[in-house]
């Protein structure tokens, strides 16, 4: 039997930037199992020890929230979640305190597929940068080349820069309002980056961020002949594949017909060629 419901110990909670929270959780089995691009379905109220479903009147908010692995430390048995406070759930999550118990399901979903050789070029926009940190660390551990192109709204809202530098052979930080390596969004930054650099070996682009940005990235990769994987986002019910609410429109590479696939199970990461960009 597969253990799907787990409880971890909150090691720390804090803000990296206004509205951008980070939580470190200890749960060794989860840290060992976590693959880049996978996520957890998180209960946003602190759990009593071992408890999963509390009585209805205490589930607030009601549904769990999907959050990706941002960083994983297998040795310490911990993982980091980074998230934007954007509603009731993430707000409640940001109010957890050291010592609280966190109930979650996972690791869930089909994450990024690391190439056998060459360079992993991670392209992120906004909160989409978070899962890329874990991805690049994993790529480096496999001996692959690593590069990061990250787009932020402004330098004040640019987070994790040092962490990205640590795991990347090259970094290229963009800001909509200037003040970093490049002025403009991540898609444009990628174009500039690829024009100026020739990464080692075949390039695999792995991207996460706003839909229009990922569309631009996918288009560029198609034109330049790079493999491209995209991490899609859809509202979820279960995260485990049983409720079918997280429909993503994709076109099967074999069958060609657009169809709905589950973001939580067949995704969140898809081959960019499959995605229906509408």
């Amino acid at each position: 039997m597969r253990t799907l419901v787990r409880t971890g110990l909150v090691r720390s909670v804090g803000f990296m930037a206004p509205g951008q929270a980070r939580m470190v959780v200890e749960e060794p089995a989860t840290a060992s199992a976590a693959q880049p691009g996978q996520f957890l379905e998180i209960d946003c109220t602190p759990a009593a020890d071992g408890e999963c479903a509390r009585s209805a009147s205490l589930r607030a908010p009601f549904l769990r929230r999907p959050i990706s692995f941002c960083n994983v430390d297998r040795v310490a048995g911990t993982f980091t979640l980074a998230f934007r406070v954007s509603g009731a759930g993430t707000d409640a999550l940001s109010r957890f305190r050291t010592g609280d118990r966190l109930s979650f399901l996972g690791p869930l979903g089909h994450g990024f597929t690391l190439p056998a050789t060459g360079t992993c070029l991670a392209v992120g926009g906004g909160i989409g940068v978070y899962p890329l940190l874990h991805l690049l660390r994993a790529a480096r551990e496999r001996g692959l080349g690593t590069a990061a192109v990250c787009g932020y709204r402004s330098p004040e809202e640019a987070f994790l820069l040092d962490e990205f530098r640590e795991v990347s052979d090259r970094t290229f930080f963009a800001s909509d309002s200037g003040g970093l390596d490049f002025t403009g969004h991540a898609g444009a930054a990628l174009e500039a980056f690829l024009a100026s650099q020739t990464p080692a070996g075949p390039v695999t682009v792995l991207t996460c961020g706003p839909f229009p940005m990922m569309r631009a990235v996918a288009g560029l990769c198609a034109r330049q002949g790079h493999a491209c994987q995209v991490s899609l986002e859809e509202r979820m019910g279960c995260g485990t594949g049983i409720c079918l609410v997280c429909a993503c429109k994709v076109r099967s590479l074999e069958r060609g017909e657009p169809e709905y696939r589950r973001c939580c199970t067949e995704g969140p990461v898809f081959d960019a060629r499959e995605v229906v960009w509408e």
Partner: protein, 306 residues
Amino acid sequence: MSTTPDLTVRIGAVVLKNPVIAASGTFGFGREMADVFDLSQLGGICSKGVTPEPRVGNPPPRVAETASGMLNSVGLQNPGLERFVSEELPFMKSLGTVVIANIAGNTVEDYQAMCRRLDATDVDAIELNLSCPNVKEGCMAFGSTPTGVAGLVRAVRPMTRKPLWVKLTPNTGDIRETSIAAEASGADAVSLVNTLLGMAIDIRTRRPVLRNNTGGLSGPAIKPVALRMVHEAYQAVGIPIVGMGGILTGEDAIEFLLAGATAVQVGTANLVNPLACQDIMDAMFRYAKEIGLERIADLTGALRIW
């Protein structure tokens, strides 16, 4: 589990190990949970709603969280009856529990044809979904009036010897009337209730959150309404009632039994707790043991109204 207390319940000819059934649309066809807990322990599994032809379902967003509940507008995404029978049903039957096929159609003929086809399979019971609020034609239209229910059930009854459970909608003026219509037309049980039709609005975009505009409300928010309807129907019909709507814990399930349900279905709870069915079965067992109950079936309708 030991044999006392006895958790067995009977829905007509169908014997369930215990009263807990995984509800339609919230457990897939059992595949995703088959390695999460021992599904043979379940009272039963009800399939995702199956239609004559494959359906892609509605465009996303298909879910909106609400206070203590959720709206869904999946729209009966399913592989169609043939693939259900050839690919999913054998798997479900291999799990070692009672399997109920939940079916939905646009026309009376759809339901008739599906029942005829299922009659030739080893499915244990058929649940006629007359209550899906997320598809344009048929379905809920049949279930919202007594004449609609009666017409459909009467037409379908001769097509199969399988037990027929009729799943009714709470979006109706009087659940007693639709339940009585189901019973009088040959239903073996009524399943109460499907989702309440609801809506959520994003004030920023001035759009409904759901791409389908409206959706079905489920979860603890609807429990008081579902419980009242089970209680009303229990006083009106003699056939067994499969109760559901917002069950999250063993206590919730026992409330439904007391109100008149013979078995319960657990839906939305599976989404927030994949072990919900197991936890509920365990809690019911413990409860029965604690109060020295010999047979859980004795709880059905044991509510003492004031």
